[in-house]
Amino acid sequence: MKDLFAVIMLSGIYGLLSASFFVAMDAVDVAFTEASVGAGISTLLMLVAITMTGRTEHPVNHKPLLALAVVIVTGGLLIYGTLDTPYFGSAQAPIHQHVAPRYINDSMQEVGVPNIVTSVLASYRGFDTFGEVVVIFTAGIGVLALLSMVYRPRVTDKDTGKDTVDIDTFNDSMHEKHLILRIVSKILLPFIMLYALYVQFHGDFGPGGGFQAGVIFAAAIILYTMLFGINTASRVINLSLIQILAATGVLIYGSVGLVSLLNGKNFLDYSALSTDPIAGQHLGILLIELGVGITVASVMVIIFFNFAERRESIHGVENNAENCSKENDEAQSAKIP
């Protein structure tokens, strides 16, 4: 398929479908992440990317026979490998024998969080999650290093050379373009942000947590940026503050680990945080989920802003008419979980 827009839409649909089958397999946390990350924000970021690269794939002259052969051989090997795996839902499968029984039986006494997924993710496997957060942070730094612009184009008055966007003229001009979309999204924005906070702090008790909450929060900011233009959004959102916040999230996570290390327990063993081990676990999980949420949201906003600024410097300001169909997909996918 040569049309990249259709390819991106198909991958978004694939993300949503796989979220549905995760729900069907009772993995609601994974489904939630897949719906918000796979169907929502990655589709959005790729859409922003093709507004810079162009919509159609560059035609190639050679026939990729070698690649086809590699794909067929690898696929065949993978299918051959599945013959040896245990049957779906089999209780004798090795994955159900190793550490899973301990998590299911003891996590209520050891961690005391009703959502076992959260206690595994944040407490038992806290170090792995730390690695994931660092990966996301590194991705943000990479985008900053590659795409960051020293010169930011601004809307300036040609005569006086200073910002003309004073608040009254802005309120009038708001009703000229995308009137319906702007009003509807203004109504929805507080609810999207509130929902993100609910997902963030309800992660101990139900599906949710820092990753999903951060993505949903970032989606709200990105929706605002798409509809009102990057110049308006950068008056609301201080990008250098966001960059500091991205580092702060990782720092919070690491500091919690260091505090438990200094209190004489293992790295990221939260029972050292309080006299009561269970209360310590609760506090630790809350803090590291907060760190995860802050980092994820900030990195997503950083990536989007750098893409969008690069794009505006290529195409010129106020060329975002074609964007208006996209943000509602995003708003919907943020609501779907």
Partner: protein, 113 residues
């Protein structure tokens, strides 16, 4: 009373499912983008509302009804806005609707084969 609730709920669910199917049929059968959007945009909003109301009647429990009401409110906001955004984007990119017109021989020609 319980019986009545069940019957009403089933009725709402049936209407909702019928509207979903008719919307899907519209996507497949209608000739161009705008009529397809019309089919799915109109029926989907109503169908979602019907199905959600049917589910509310199924489960007369406080918290569930509140959650379903919030979802209903959100879809009532988002669905029409999304349809509007799609139509506006298509219009701005100069996608013209199919307008069949009769030429001099009285034969119907389609402007968009």
């Amino acid at each position: 009373m319980d019986m009545l609730m069940q019957i009403t709920s089933a009725l709402f669910l049936l209407i909702g499912s019928f509207l979903c199917i008719s919307g899907g049929l519209g996507i497949l059968r209608f000739p161009d983008f705008y009529t397809r959007l019309h089919a799915v945009g109109v029926t989907d909003t109503l169908a979602t509302a019907m199905i959600l109301i049917g589910l509310m009647l199924q489960n007369p429990d406080g918290l569930v009804i509140v959650k379903l009401l919030i979802i209903l409110l959100m879809t009532l906001f988002i669905n029409p806005a999304a349809s509007h955004a799609l139509a506006q984007a298509a219009m701005q990119n100069e996608l013209m609707p199919v307008l069949d017109k009769k030429d001099t021989n009285g034969k119907v020609t389609s402007s968009n084969p």
